[in-house]
Amino acid sequence: MSQERLTGPAAIADISEIPPVVSEWSRFQRVFFQRKLVMFGLAVLLVVVFCAAFAHWLAPYDPYRGNMADSLVQPCWKYLLGTDIQGRDTLSRMIYGCRTVLMVGFITVTVAAIIGIPLGLMAGFFGGISNMIIMRAMDALMGFPFLLLALLLSAVLGGGIQNVIIALSIALVPGYARVMHGLTLSIKENDYILAERAMGASSRRTMFGHVLPNALAPMIVLATAQLGILILAEAGLSYLGIGIKPPGAAWGSMVADGYQYLLSNPVLSFAPGLAIMVVVFAFFMVGDGLRDALDPRLRGLL
């Protein structure tokens, strides 16, 4: 390959400045899979997915019904992380909590993307009045801190996993719309869009067939990073008691429940909180890895 290049116009430039020709996939593999932190994140996420999928036979005890005789047991061989006031095994509840985390995270991101991306796409593509209406509305939603908007909405809807998902999705939509809006504006200026329009392609075809696919990589990166933020927000809502309703197993409410027994049984609060932190960290690391692996501007640098 490099031999061919020397005869072309590129021969004029310094050879060391020419990025080596690497296929996109092998670059992805190299950047993504060869970083320890990214691999750590990926491993954590796999464990969480595994726990969520096989919770019913991984969990040693029933997460919802405890043994009152074994109330507030310290961590021991029988109960690895101890039990809460109702005698429920902390470890089992944490394993079932994986389901809550994944469900809230993935459904919310998907719903928010399905609503937010077309809004941003239309606002950026058509401009004018639709741009103004959509982006003004998004600005209004952005006026609230993310957690506060989620709080307001879940307060209005009442708790429960379904309403938490709805509340968080609505709170997340403006973020997607904004980023998609910006991406659309820059992609729209490309010559291939002009060519497409000149061939008489409809707006819909141009938007969904050409603008959207070119914006997909950054949107995936955004979604991964937002999974982490979402999990923190859901945990916060559950901690306040506005999120997942008892007896549902959510890590955030487990931390809150353990507060009363902080001095005698600190593990009750510490363990679920640590789990939240590690999972959020994993999502952020995988997000960073994806960003570097998918960003075409870093081609040749990484």
Binding site: P145, L148, G228, L263, S269
Partner: protein, 309 residues
């Protein structure tokens, strides 16, 4: 433009509140009716008193008219003026938030700066690791950890409450240390990450190479030439962190039982006190919009290439 956004915010808040299943009064008053303290006639009278018998548009316009005159409505739960409730609690949240923000901004920028300048060394690794972990820590959990170790085990700091610094400065400071740390750590890490990457971007520029080749000292180059341009993207992040601090205060005030605005909102949610939620969220949204306006203006100040017409 900020006014239009503000108006849209009132729409969002008002109609979100009216999505409440059923009558906002019923849920709160329902208990009193059941316990026999109040008859259905009295309930109807109350409904008229709070204007809930009128059509939605009229209710909305009444609320807006009140806001314009600085009247935020009367709380159902506290039977007090919401403006007064907020005015009592706002200085507390401001004290907490402002301290957290100042610490967050200063340390975040410093941490990012040092990490970028000493790129690849152990300083960078330590700072980056700290920042990467800091953004993931659940605020309320960190609060619990600190309470456990510094409050309960070591007995160094009081675990809850708030004292005005004008009444007892030493006690106030002791009480506010843990909340401020909790509130600052997330956004500080966020700021540090942004500062590091924008600083690395700037030191690659030609004018920095020129500065080096002129033989300037490193300190001069970093502080006089590289700092200002690298702060531009950080200012956006600082705007977001200010919002994060305000949002986080809801959690932190709950953990440490601090009677601030965030605590008021949470307890109003449980008390179904829609008047307080409605006006409270409106006030907070207004603050955020103003902050964003300040951020936009400071762009022009720090980067003369940006000018608004």
């Amino acid at each position: 433009m900020a006014v239009v956004t503000l108006w849209l915010v009132t729409l969002v808040v008002f109609f979100a509140m009216r999505l409440l299943p059923g009558d906002p009064l019923i849920i709160f008053m329902g208990e009193s009716v059941q316990s026999g303290n109040m008859t259905t006639e009295q309930l109807a009278k109350l409904r008229v008193e709070y204007g809930l018998d009128k059509p939605l548009v009229v209710q909305y316009l009444t609320w807006i008219a009140g806001l314009v005159h600085g009247n935020l409505g009367t709380s159902i739960h506290y039977h007090e003026d919401v403006g007064k409730l907020m005015a009592e609690r706002f200085p507390i949240t401001l004290h907490l938030g402002l301290l957290a923000f100042l610490i967050e901004a200063t340390l975040g920028v410093l941490l990012g700066l040092v990490a970028a300048v000493r790129r690849g060394t152990w300083v960078d690794v330590a700072a980056t690791t700290f920042a990467n972990i800091g953004v993931c820590v659940p605020v309320f959990w960190l609060g619990l950890l600190l309470t456990y170790f510094f409050g309960l085990r070591l007995g160094l700091l009081p675990i809850a409450g708030y004292t005005s610094p004008f009444d007892d400065f030493w006690m106030s400071t002791k009480q506010i240390i843990m909340p401020v740390v909790c509130l600052a750590i997330g956004s500080m890490s966020f700021t540090a990450r942004q500062m590091r990457s924008s600083m690395l971007e700037v030191v690659r520029q030609d004018y920095i190479r020129t500065a080096w080749s002129k033989g300037l000292r490193e300190r001069t180059i970093i502080l006089r030439h590289a700092l200002k341009p690298s702060l531009i993207p950080v200012i956006t992040v600082l705007g977001i962190s200010a919002a994060m601090v305000l949002g986080g205060s809801v959690l932190v005030e709950t953990v440490f039982a601090i009677p601030g605005v965030g605590r008021l909102l949470v307890s109003s949610i449980f008390a179904q006190d829609y008047v307080v939620i409605q006006s409270g969220t409106f006030v907070i949204a207004t603050i955020i919009i103003l902050l964003n306006l300040i951020v936009d203006i400071s762009y022009g100040w720090i980067d003369p290439r940006i000018r608004y017409s």
